[in-house]
Symmetry: D3
Subunit: 116 residues, 6 copies
């Protein structure tokens, strides 16, 4: 697996374990909701991932963007679909989104190259 993808996932996974081991009810339930919110419902899974991605992008949360990029990649969203979603985020959120766009491109490239 590409280094920046692996590094992100390892840290995320290690710290999530620590957080959940702590048994704070509110935090545990928010983590739980976070898993449920992106499952198939009135909207399909692909649309929901893109909604999570755009929300993360306009709020400029790099780790959230990475998470949704990886899931988007894994469920088969195409690069042009992901970029189109991010173009809306850049328009709505303004040029301050651009640095996050750069890092999103880098992460997507890393996702694409991980199987090579």
């Amino acid at each position: 697996m590409s280094d920046i993808v692996k590094e992100f996932n390892d840290y995320r996974s290690k710290m999530n374990d620590k957080i959940l081991a702590d048994n704070n009810k509110i935090i545990k339930r928010i983590f739980n909701l976070d898993t449920n919110a992106y499952t198939e419902g009135a909207l399909d899974v692909k649309t929901k991932e893109l909604l999570g991605l755009v929300a993360s992008a306009v709020l400029r949360c790099d780790d959230c963007i990475k998470y949704h990029l990886e899931t988007s990649y894994n469920i088969g969203l195409k690069k042009e679909e992901v970029i189109e979603a991010l173009s809306i985020a850049t328009l709505v959120g303004g040029t301050i989104v651009i640095p996050h766009l750069r890092r999103a491109y880098e992460f997507w490239d890393a996702l694409e190259s991980q199987g090579e």
Copy 2:
């Protein structure tokens, strides 16, 4: 047409005319992009409206939410699809999104009752 829908559209339309009459190039081009960004592309029009809606909701912009709710309504998105998108916005953006959710519900009701 329902009062809060008409009031929103009248003010928006009147002030947009003033802004565009002013001929500031940057602003005019941003308005222009705003129209183009939501047309069919790699993603369909419904998905793009929902992306605009969620971006507006997490950034807590009531007027932007209203605009995307009205377009969503007009292109045939169902209430449950819109609400599911807003549920993701509320999870990602936190409980501070809830007051905007209240006003979104009120506006959607107004949209639904305007033909009655």
Copy 3:
């Protein structure tokens, strides 16, 4: 009850009922968490209300501020405690918090005068 307090509570209550009647699971659970998060735990109820108030103030959510002001008032927090919390919010969040501070003062006055 003072008009701005009653108006806030009536609208909030009416729209919350509509939202909860809609049975979106994610939203319902977030509402539920919102109730649980402020109950006594490692921290007492007064401290937690002030934490909710300051979070609302720096994120500049007037309705959230009003909600926490009312609860703060009802559980016996003194005005000077509430203002001291808001002074930290204004310092951390900057002068853009000041307009919300004005409305917070107005709402607190309304809370104090409601029993008169």
Copy 4:
């Protein structure tokens, strides 16, 4: 004086008096800094007002925008200078700034018409 200008100033002035009467040291000093920060220094007064205006616009604080618009108007900044500053705010902050741009135009018109 135009109604929306007078209404804004009256409320602002009344509530600022209440806040300052309360003698919270942190808040009083922030108010004091807010007066000092826009006086002539390495940068002239007009530039500083525009900086305050753009900061207020990208942070989407309508009352702060109104305040800086009024001061900008009073110190002789031209409409096209103010609009150019706001165009940068709209580009940097994204289309969510547009609703605030509408209200800024309305307020500027009210400032211009107050002497008529």
Copy 5:
């Protein structure tokens, strides 16, 4: 002292010295207020630190979170009190706070292990 704690404090201290040596009055006074705001007043020091922590967390400022975590640790706040405060921040601010929660846990662990 743990590496990430020391690294944070060294950089913070070195750059604060440079900033304060520059003699910009507004910035110096804001630094000064920042020291005063968290001293005992109507609220005790522990409550005020938690207010600063929650404000920092919902505004997603990692360095501010680290600063308040260290002070919280030094004045004897327990981990479960700090986590409970952060759980409110995560609920109010949404899942975008979670990456900051991960880094907060890591920093708290570093604070706890620094004496070992």
Copy 6:
């Protein structure tokens, strides 16, 4: 050239090339607007750079701050002018801007030392 300046420019330049090669119309036009918005108009180039800098600072976008610092440096803005602009950003945006102020000072120092 100083390391942190070179590192920033190399990454920015490499990723911008990738983004623009992708031919997403919305993103390309936003990049284009970003170039045009800071050219001489009703306001001069120096004022516009400072507006871009303050917008970036209150929105806490380190890469955007770096970009505007470098351009400010290249067009001959003096350190005290830049710092005065940043002091307004810190007042309006609050103490959460301070960590970005530290990194801005570091970057400005790097810009100044690059010719040495």
